[in-house]
């Protein structure tokens, strides 16, 4: 007889040992929530079952508790309860603005979208814009002014500054230093300028750990037919990448012509994954490659050079901002030689900002000159170059005042810490890379009594206390003191783009040039790069970004040292081995991950992890690659040594296998073949069955027929669709341990496949939401009809019917159904009260034991349908935009009505490239794909 206790042993064990610490990890979730009691006797089992049946019966009979309705005292005129309002503003990364439209429900921001009219967004958003919402509501943001770890008040600080001001007036502000990140805010720069005029001996220093946008060129990828990139990830990172992705997609969509992309890079990037010809090269090889392109000395390079020559004035050569100045120089020269300047790219006039760098500040701190250091934003104690020993120096400064969002590493070392108002909580302004100005307006009062940097500067300037609004407005009024100011100011707020002319020159670039790489002497080269997820210490405590798989490695909740298969083989390392990375006398312990496409003998590490004071979400996630980052090797260099430790670390990914194993999940071919035989590319290995090859009665759809087409030619695989969906649909975060069990909740994932072998294998990205199959396998197996078809062809998931059998998920060939195993909504990532404010009120917050999946954003469909019906008109094509499609920078996702013959989706479905994923199963998916084309250079061998 099989006892229940014996069955129990076969169940998975939740407390696993961490290979690094050797200690049992603490269970993140309520005790006993996930596992069976360990000694469960038959009698106890029956008791529990009986009790749960009785309780379930009883619980079903409770009444809803009485609910209150709380109206306004005076209802603001523009608010219609139940209808969202949208406000234009901007969010910054590395100082540069990307325009946003923020959806607010009765004063609560619930979703961030790109601003269609903003040149750096064009309506698209990146993962950081989307994730900013979670940071806004992060309950662990600091909430009080602190003086030496004790709660103090803003007035206490003002009192101290007033005393100092007397001293500064006599000595001209000697010993007063201001440290900011890269700043583009005209108001703030004006305040700094005035402060430096007031105290001529004071100094302003700028430190931007991300570096700044390389060499300030503005590219027009829509006009380029041939693009060559030397390690530049122009599609995946940088302040203008949304515009680049959109422009690039415009020239990429296969038609009469299609652009061609050559990428030579040391570590795989999203841009490299889009390349028609990709070369994995070590930094020194990369330099030689670029030189060969100039001289045409190498046969391969000569062919690429010929292709460039054939597209004079219609090509772009771009060098990555982390690459050597030699490469930057070569790219610039090539563009000039090819006549691209002025046609596909422009060099705007860069003005020096006048800020000094971090090195000068550190020298002065060492010399004991600095007695008051005011740090505005950033987290230099964590991300300053390791050789500066900034943290040590900071702790010795007599008075350091830190304005920051979190009680982080820097806050811990400063005497004063002032909570900073989030960008969505206060007034400010910022510029985008092309110089356009956005005036940023608050969406909500500061949740945690934050202060703006303008208020702090105003206090230093001894101005009458004024709000950030008054300061920003006064600055713009001083720039444009005319009768139409009010109108222009309001228009700027409404549009999210200001039309003001500035009377003073503004700084736009202050990029510290990376040091030239020496020739390849040592066996290994270190490449230090910002993470594509936790790009900035600002996002360290952001669970959405921590759980969003890295687009290249699919690793979540971790970073790793990336090695090519050949190098790993040579060093006899496998993924998950923990090694000591030794670089120029510094050492960090890191797990390694093997990454095809990585250049041999190169090790890539990502910054932003290994935090000690990020908060409960971000602490001790990954390792701190910044330990290896020194001021003369900001992006790495030669001389890396790897030492095996014999320890292992579990790296968790959402996709463990990158081969398609001969299946035709992503169908691809060359552009030349497509031009000859258009239908040949999307044809699968097995033909799709005829429509009537089914035992089920045919269904006709009379009204709308919703469908989605995903263009694999333009999708860059950035993953913003996943996070936009998460924000829109109240999708919970589950944590590393649950992802390891395959329980991530993302409704749309981006699969990544590798095609071909060797270092130059191709990467294919494929976003996979619910396919909304017309013959949906999930529907047939649900015993309670909790998933059924709508009259418009949507596969509906009815939460309040679902009893959690998970049969549907088992029967889904696409594995897009997500089961809420553990009341994720109430776990440590989701529980705090502030998070409730963030929820989209138009979407149910699901509970434990319920299956969920992509709904095609039914709340948006219904909202548009209702408005159209009220106005008695048809729904316009493009009026309904699901969250993923709205966020997509490449416009790769198109949604619409198949029954509207003029709709974009109907036309794309008719494209010869259109195919359904696993359509041989006769699921007849409503979500289909456009097969991927490679515009290979016929002179180069295919796959070379």
């Amino acid at each position: 007889m099989i006892g229940i206790t014996r069955v129990n042993r076969a169940l998975p064990i939740t407390n696993h040992q961490s290979p690094i610490t050797g200690a049992n990890s603490i269970d993140e979730f309520a005790q006993g929530a996930s596992e069976w009691p360990t000694d469960l006797s038959r009698r106890r089992f029956l008791q529990l079952m009986g009790a749960s049946i009785a309780l379930a019966g009883g619980a079903g009979c409770t009444r809803n508790p009485p609910e209150k309705i709380v109206p306004y005292r005076d209802q603001p005129e523009e608010i219609v309860p139940g209808k969202p309002l949208y406000f234009a503003s901007a969010l910054t990364i590395g100082g540069y603005a990307r325009g946003v439209l923020v959806e607010t429900h009765e004063g609560r921001p619930t979703k961030i979208e790109g601003n269609l009219e903003h040149p750096a967004s064009l309506g698209a958003s990146d993962v950081f814009m989307q994730a900013e919402l979670l940071t806004l509501y992060d309950p662990e943001r600091s909430n009080a002014v602190m003086k030496r770890g004790q709660i103090a008040t803003w007035d206490d600080l003002l009192g101290e500054l007033a005393i100092d001001a007397q001293k500064w007036k006599t000595n001209g502000g000697a010993g007063l230093r201001l440290l900011t990140r890269h700043e583009t805010s005209p108001t703030f720069l004006d305040q700094i300028r005035r402060l430096l005029t007031k105290y001529p001996s004071a100094e302003w220093h700028e430190y931007e750990p991300l570096g700044t946008a390389a060499a300030g060129a503005i590219y027009h990828f829509d006009k380029a037919e041939v693009v060559v990139s030397f390690g530049a990830d122009f599609l995946g990172s940088g302040p203008n990448c949304l515009r680049h992705a959109r422009d690039f997609a415009a020239a990429r969509r296969p038609g009469e012509r299609m652009n061609r992309l050559y990428v030579a890079e040391s570590t795989p990037t999203l841009t490299g994954a889009m390349a028609d010809h990709r070369f994995a090269l070590r930094p020194d090889e990369l330099e030689r490659f670029a030189q060969a392109l100039m001289s045409g000395s190498d046969p391969l390079a000569a062919k690429i050079a010929a292709d460039l020559q054939a597209h004079r004035g219609k090509s772009i050569v771009v060098a990555g901002e982390h690459e050597s100045s030699t490469l930057q120089q070569i790219a610039r020269q090539l563009n000039e030689m090819l006549g691209n300047v002025g046609s596909t790219l422009d060099y705007p006039n860069a003005v020096e900002s006048g800020a000094r760098g971090l090195r000068e500040l550190v020298d002065e701190m060492r010399g004991g000159i600095v007695d008051t250091l005011i740090i505005i934003g950033g987290n230099p104690a964590y991300d300053a170059p390791a050789d500066f020993e900034f943290a040590k120096l900071l702790s010795k400064i007599p008075r350091a005042i830190y304005l920051g969002l979190y009680q982080d590493e820097t806050a811990a070392l400063c005497q004063w810490h002032v909570p900073r108002a989030h960008e969505l909580e206060t007034w400010s302004d910022a510029r985008s890379l092309d110089g356009s100005v956005t005036i940023m307006q608050p969406m909500i009062e500061p949740l945690f009594a934050g202060r703006s940097r303008h208020e702090l500067l105003s206090a230093l300037l001894e101005e009458a206390p004024s709000s950030a609004y008054e300061i920003v407005r006064a600055f713009w009024q001083s720039q444009h003191n005319a009768l139409d100011f009010e109108m222009l100011f309001r228009k700027a707020l409404h549009d999210g783009i200001a039309d003001f002319q500035l009377s003073t020159g503004e700084s736009l670039t202050s990029a510290p040039l990376p040091p030239p790489l020496t020739s390849h002497l040592s066996p290994l080269t270190l490449l230090i790069r910002p993470s594509l997820r936790i790009i900035d210490s600002h996002f360290g405590n952001n669970a959405w970004l921590q759980e969003l798989p890295d687009p290249i490695t699919k690793i979540v909740w971790d970073n790793a040292a990336l090695l090519s298969p050949a190098t790993a083989n040579r060093l006899s390392l496998v993924s998950g081995d923990v090694v000591n990375l030794k670089f120029r006398g510094r050492m960090v312990r890191a797990p390694i991950s093997i990454l095809p496409g990585q250049a041999d003998d190169c090790v890539t590490v990502h910054l932003g992890y290994g935090r000690t004071r990020a908060g409960s979400v971000g602490n001790n996630v990954g390792f701190d690659a910044g330990i290896l980052r020194t001021s003369n090797a900001m992006w790495g260099g030669d001389g890396l040594e790897i030492e095996k430790t014999g320890v292992r670390h579990e790296l968790v990914t959402t996709q463990n296998h990158f081969g398609m194993e001969g299946r035709d999940l992503v169908r691809s071919g060359t552009f030349a073949k497509f031009r000859q035989r258009p239908r040949s590319i999307a044809r699968g290995n097995e033909p799709a069955p005829r429509e009537d090859e089914t035992l089920y009665p045919p269904v006709t759809y009379s009204g709308h027929a919703w469908a989605m087409v995903i263009d694999l030619n333009t999708c860059t695989g950035c993953g913003v669709c996943t996070i936009a969906c998460q924000a829109e649909n109240n999708i919970p975060v589950v944590g590393k341990e649950q992802v390891e069990r395959g329980r991530e909740m993302h409704w749309i994932r981006v699969d990544r496949y590798l095609e071909g072998d060797g270092p130059n294998s191709r990467t294919l990205h494929q976003p996979v939401p619910c396919m909304h199959c017309e013959n949906a396998p999930c529907e047939l197996v649900c015993p309670v009809a909790a998933t059924v078809h709508s009259s418009e062809g949507i596969n509906q998931m009815v939460y309040n019917r679902c009893v959690g059998t998970r049969y549907c998920s088992n029967n889904c060939p696409y594995k897009v159904r997500r089961f809420n195993f553990l009341e994720y909504d109430a776990n440590r990532f989701e529980q705090p009260a502030t998070r409730k404010l963030m929820r989209n009120p138009d979407v149910t917050v699901r509970s434990r034991g319920v299956m969920e999946k992509c709904t095609y954003c039914i709340q948006r469909i219904n909202a548009v349908k209702i408005e159209a019906e009220k106005a008695n008109r048809a729904i316009r094509d493009g009026e309904i935009v699901p969250a993923c499609a709205q966020a997509c920078p490449a416009n790769a996702i198109v949604f619409g009505d198949l029954h509207d013959a003029e709709s974009r989706v109907a036309k794309l479905r008719a494209s010869p490239l259109n195919y359904g994923l696993l359509d041989e199963l006769n699921t007849r998916p409503r979500t289909t794909y456009l097969a991927k084309l490679w515009n290979v250079n016929p002179d180069l061998e295919v796959g070379a």
Binding site: I69, T855, N862, K870
Partner: protein, 218 residues
């Protein structure tokens, strides 16, 4: 040895066998009936409010239009509960010292809103939209009853899903001309079915999708 059980015991045993299932069925029927009873659904039981606002007086007596206070009923999913300011448009002049209106005056002075108790409380997973129902000719009274006769508000319908579906399956039984939506004295005509069919055409009611789950749940 004598038999322990008399012959009569056989009948008793048979009776018990029949009685046990009957008992279960009876209990189920009783529970079911109870769950549908007005007592359980609180139909027809007035709900206490911080201010005993009388629709009977304001609607029935004074003839104030529904939309004077429920301003967003034609625009939004939520019909809207009037802000204190709306109350004060009249009550700063009339009944301005009435003790029963003290909470309204308090709210006006302190800025703290009045917390009304919800009478019609749908489950959170049902997304009802007032504006589309009003536009398509579902009268206020069809769901809310004769509010012009209610001194305090109460439900007149159980708000169960089957009740929603009664109309979503056969809207022709309930629709009225859009001009009569807010009228409290409206009575359905004798040929309601014919009128309903006509209104379905005229108001462009898409009956095909009305019973889709995603029409109300998401």
């Amino acid at each position: 040895m004598a038999q322990l059980f008399k012959r009569r015991a056989n009948a008793l045993a048979r009776l018990t066998l029949i009685a046990i299932p009957l008992l279960f069925v009876g209990a189920a029927v009783t529970l079911f009936a109870y769950a549908r009873s007005d007592f359980w659904t609180r139909v027809d039981s007035p709900v206490e409010q911080p201010v005993p606002f009388s629709h009977q007086h304001h609607v029935g007596g004074l003839g104030i239009d529904c939309r004077y206070c429920h301003t967003s009923v034609e625009k939004s999913s939520f019909a809207g509960i009037p802000p204190t300011e709306t109350c004060m448009t009249c009550h700063s002049q009339v009944w301005k010292d009435a003790p029963v209106l003290q909470p309204v005056r308090d709210s006006w002075q302190t800025g703290a809103p009045i917390k009304w108790t919800r009478v019609h409380d749908l489950p959170d997973y049902a997304y009802f939209d007032h504006s589309i129902h009003v536009k398509k000719g579902v009268g206020c009274g069809t769901c809310h009853g004769q509010v012009n006769e209610m001194p305090l508000m109460w439900k007149t319908k159980p708000l169960y899903m089957r009740w929603c579906l009664d109309c979503h399956r056969a809207p022709e039984k309930f629709l009225r001309p859009t001009s009569d939506v807010v009228r409290m004295d409206y009575r359905a005509p004798r040929d309601q079915l014919a009128l309903g069919q006509k209104l379905i055409q005229a108001n462009n009611v898409h009956t095909a999708g009305l019973t889709d789950c995603y029409t109300c749940h998401r």
